[in-house]
Symmetry: C2
Subunit: 203 residues, 2 copies
DNA sequence: CGTATATTGGACTGGTCACTCCATTTTGTA
DNA sequence: TACAAAATGGAGTGACCAGTCCAATATACG
């Protein structure tokens, strides 16, 4: 499908990463449309020819940013995200997420969610990449709940897959409202509501 | 605070509304940054001087669009949104929301939520307007749950205000995931999870 | 009817943006 | 060391875009 990528020198790799990191930061703060390639050049300390040497166009830079932010977001939740196989673990993860959000003063929302909202209907390739990002996130939550279910800790009627989706959606909606109101209360309410529901399904 | 608004002729009023409706449609489909004032002019069939006769600048047009879409979104959920004072009523509202989303093929997400994500951190006035929009939405949900609580239909431990926030967040997150995946399943899972939680708190 | 005011047409502008081009320097490797 | 490929500098380009300007027309109202 894709042609062979041009070989990258160590220096080239470093430059490329600097560009992606700078772009990710700016696009998170101002959105993709609000970030010009010139802004990225200035922030990364590179010239136009460098940026376009490593990326075919702005959209392919955006795809690299999606990959970069996906790793950053999932990493920031580790190790809590890795073992969500008890209500206590889920509540601990909730606390980790809230700490991250508080640290940045409720600004910025979810890096992946913001990109998803902006790009879902205007950039099909970005959308596909974002679907994959959310699949990984959802998968991590689902694995924990499935483990609980397998061990018989959840009632038979409970559907761990749907609960995982419910938790992820509550997180995204809670983050949006927290960003808008500059207050973590909506995020706390959202997560606690779905986590209480999980708890109520424990035998 | 604001100067007296220039008087509008019937014709002027109609022109102004045509501009707002066209802008709302385009900004919903492509985002605010993705919609140029020239696009709006073409879609509304007006000239640049007309647009800038009725709106000081693009940002004030955006504020009008927020008001317009807020009414549209809340209206689309009536009368279901008005009487959410039983679990059955909440589930009926859920079905109304899902019908709306299905009708548009899961494209577009939430008109207000999308604007919130794009504007929360870059346009303080827009953010304030969007906070008000969500307050109205949340208020409608909260009123229903409070009525249930007042009538003693919810357990004493239940907090109707937090539940209302949880429902709104689940809706927003579910809409985002549904938009991204082009599938209503995430929205159904999100809403059902929080609604089941409400149901589990009924005496 | 007459006049003040609202509405409209449409060309124009200064700035920004994504992206290109070509020359030059640096790096990997035989 | 020599050479091919990679990396970089930086000016340039055509398109687009928010907002302006002034003249012309339509409308309200005394």
């Amino acid at each position: 499908m894709s042609a062979d990528p041009p070989r990258l020198t160590r220096k080239g790799q470093a430059t490329r990463e600097r560009i992606v990191a700078a772009a990710a930061q700016l696009m998170y703060e101002r959105g993709v449309a609000g970030t010009s390639t010139e802004d990225v050049q200035a922030a990364a300390g590179v010239s136009a020819s460098q940026l376009y040497h490593y990326f075919a166009d702005k959209r392919s830079l955006v795809r690299a940013v999606i990959a970069f932010l996906t790793e950053a977001v999932l990493d920031a939740q580790q190790p809590a995200l890795g073992g969500l196989d008890s209500v206590a673990a889920v509540r601990a993860w909730r606390d980790v997420v809230l700490a991250v959000v508080r640290r940045r003063g409720c600004e910025g929302g979810c890096p992946i969610g913001s990109l998803a909202s902006e790009l879902a209907d205007v950039d099909p390739e970005a959308r596909a990449a974002l679907v994959e990002s959310f699949d990984r996130w959802e998968g991590a939550i689902r694995d924990g709940l499935r483990a609980m279910h397998r061990r018989g800790e959840l009632r038979d009627g409970a559907d761990p897959d749907r609960l995982a989706l419910g938790i992820l959606a509550a997180l995204q909606g809670g983050l949006l409202l927290a960003q808008l109101r500059r207050d973590t209360a909506p995020l706390e309410a959202a997560l606690d509501t779905v986590i209480d529901q999980v708890a109520s399904l424990v035998r």
